[in-house]
Symmetry: C2
Subunit: 324 residues, 2 copies
Amino acid sequence: MPETRRITSADVARRAGVSRATVSYVLNATPGQSISPATRDRVLRAAAGLGYAPSAAARTLRTGRSDVVLCLLPDWPIGNEVGNLLGNLSTALAREGLTFVAHPGSRADRPIAEIWKAITPAAVLSFTDFSDDETEAMRAAGVALVVALLGRAGRHGRELEVPQQLVGRRQAEHLVGTGHARLGYAYPDDPRLRIFADPRLAGVRAALGRQPVVETVPLDAEPAAEAVRRWQAAGVTGVCAYNDEVALAVLAGARTLSLTGLAVIGVDDIPAARLAVPPLTTVTTDQRTLATHLATTVVAAVSGRPAPMLPTADLIRVVTRESA
Amino acid sequence: MPETRRITSADVARRAGVSRATVSYVLNATPGQSISPATRDRVLRAAAGLGYAPSAAARTLRTGRSDVVLCLLPDWPIGNEVGNLLGNLSTALAREGLTFVAHPGSRADRPIAEIWKAITPAAVLSFTDFSDDETEAMRAAGVALVVALLGRAGRHGRELEVPQQLVGRRQAEHLVGTGHARLGYAYPDDPRLRIFADPRLAGVRAALGRQPVVETVPLDAEPAAEAVRRWQAAGVTGVCAYNDEVALAVLAGARTLSLTGLAVIGVDDIPAARLAVPPLTTVTTDQRTLATHLATTVVAAVSGRPAPMLPTADLIRVVTRESA
DNA sequence: CTGTTAGCGCATTCAC
DNA sequence: GTGAATGCGCTAACAG
């Protein structure tokens, strides 16, 4: 096994008969440098011939920033939809020459500073908000963009907050449109989900013009049945659920009471939704569009350009099945 | 906003009145170097006082390896269980001072070399196998460990392969134990899942002593009903499903045929399983134990120690509900 | 023993 | 177009 020494820009320079600086200028197409096409060509050819690839570590050291975009995952269980979003985001960022990685694990485990310090990322995304200190520290360390995908309004990351509200709106609109006037909202049991649930609930309220009857629904038939009973007592005929799983719980609760006719609408369109009894009507987000937008935002920030607007037109759709 | 210059080991050295080398020796507790407690203390104090943190980039450049463990995610949809495993893995590796990150996105999008070159990881994990060339390239680049979590037997990553077989075994054992002699296997529709499905099926076969009646089951009630019909014709009374979603499809198919009494057992215990009609019996893996083991394996490899054995004893459990 | 000097690892970029 | 400095930490060789 031959000790394969790394190929460095010096090797390329030697082979092309130029200096390392020139190699750098050519390979990075540095603006404001005039390099003759002939030299340019020699360098390119030499680099290709040697199979040269710049050392990411050296580049990071020098520029103070890598080509990696770090996403801090929340500590609540991530499902298919989030997985999907991450995949699309990764693809979209790859098109821009950025490498996307996600870090799972709660902040409690480990201060987030340790994580970004280990990566020296160009940008950091997070589902939950950063503290001002954290934001400041990252900025100071050269991280170009720090975005919370969800969080207090009026901050950096309104990009994804609006869609969450829209999700709730669409649910309510669908139910109202099919003749339900008194609506319930099935709120998730897990407090960590509040960050998603609150804007969705707000969307329902906005579309409805008043507060729906909110019940917290655990993912279990018995307690869900309790909630359904209370809804019944309140005259509720249609329920917007936080997501499909909660919606399935509502369905299970209604079944426990042998109650039919309660309209239920979920969010996400997980595989189990179409297989439920009855098949679950739900709302989906166009993850691809969202991911592309997010990627564009990141790229814009990294290169100092202004961020684009999110096209909210067809972003969220209702998948109508039998449950509502 | 004061231009906060980065604090380097030179700053610490200056403040402690020693050379940078000494700082390095103290902070890394380099063996074979004897440094007086007094000096040691001064350095430590200076470092703490300054809030010094070594530059990961410089360290990576110098040592040729970062403290990051990169996990290449498969291109098939990742669900809660995988998300869970990743979280646990991250926690376990953090305890060892390693930073875990995952890269979603298919290999088709981007050659995997680009990804690890951007990270310079200490180790790379993957669900699917690496080609020999890829493995070799990573090794040559200084990646300490390259593990495929699943893949051809007899290679590096038997760690997780065994559990997959065990999953199938447990399913079959449960069904056989409850009086079912003729078993069916509900194989997933998505070809990308074969890598998980094949070992599970093999486990069922092993436990059963012969091949079960295999049917491919899409996540849709109609086609699932077809499969159920064929199982009926073959005298099958119990079905092991690839996972809970496929199991739900089988249940939906049986319902379409108004057939009751077909025993079905899934894998994963997703939230929807307990809410199904009937509640789904399923098999779960102790992700925490698995993650800890994996983390230990990684750490062992990075530091050149031998890998531990996976404790398979209570790793996989049957969650009995009404479907089987 | 203690601790230092010197130079490496690589790419980027300023000044000539 | 080039030489030399820079970013930061690690470590072999060496002096006190």
